[in-house]
Symmetry: C3
Subunit: 120 residues, 3 copies
């Protein structure tokens, strides 16, 4: 009988944690094999800025092509303006980034769907 | 058939994360509706200080009135003295704050009861 | 009927969080009793350095003797060299530290086995 596919949700809300998250994903896929794990990354808070960084996007795009799902919180994209830093406009994000209204809802629902939670 | 009620536990152990937690709660309720989500906040470590901050307490009290449960760890309240900062006396906390002996036990038990875990 | 044994996984990836993790473990065992909880600690990233600190190791060894399982991520041990700080050689770690190839895989699998996740 085949092993059940692993399911994991990475929650990132700090820009400086992207390196850790992307390293964890590479290690996980290398260790168990891409077809044996379902990986979702949810970025909210300041971490949504990671989606505007060309260096990170090139790694994110590779992972995305390998089936990793990357999600951005719309509330967070909007709130960046209020934090006194530049807003993140949705239309400048790469099309493989999925935007949800509230990242926090996605975090809760995924866990009730059996995803493990990891906060690097 | 109605959607199962979502259940989520916010774990906060750093004072400076209260703003994020309270924002997450507001976004979550706004997104799914108050009656569709069961929200518990467990503060341990330095985060118990949040319960003594009038500005935060006014927001916490509003959420509490809307059904969000706020919990403080008694071990943490006591330990604040040993950290060389002022103790937090239980009798100065608002009565809607629930005090448990060990916040960590509550964190583990809630997850075994099906609560999603979020660490902002 | 006896209470189901609690199961919890502590994830630590920052050296400075060891004090919190070890305090949480002591509080948890003191609160529910050693025989009622199954505790696993997974250290990856910089936190693997904790396993080389004599002061921490003496506490870790006591908890280990009481049944707490301590795990180190081999990827992280290796990566320390690349971070420009000293590598952590596996053969200098105490024998009660279990080394796994990828800590992140262990974190995901344990949760699918019913372990609660705590990130102090």
């Amino acid at each position: 009988m085949p092993m059940d596919k692993l399911k994991v949700l990475f929650h990132i809300n700090e820009t400086e944690k992207w390196k850790v998250v992307l390293g964890n994903i590479a290690n996980l896929i290398s260790n168990v094999g891409q077809k044996n794990v379902d990986i979702v990354v949810i970025a909210n808070g300041f971490a949504v800025y990671g989606y505007t960084d060309p260096e990170k996007i090139s790694i994110i795009e590779q992972h995305s092509g390998a089936g990793v799902k990357f999600i951005a919180c719309r509330n967070s994209l909007r709130n960046m303006c209020q934090e006194g830093i530049a807003c993140v406009r949705e239309d400048i994000l790469p099309s493989f980034i999925v935007i949800v209204e509230a990242g926090i809802t996605e975090i809760v629902k995924r866990q009730s769907d059996g995803y493990a939670y990891v906060k690097p």
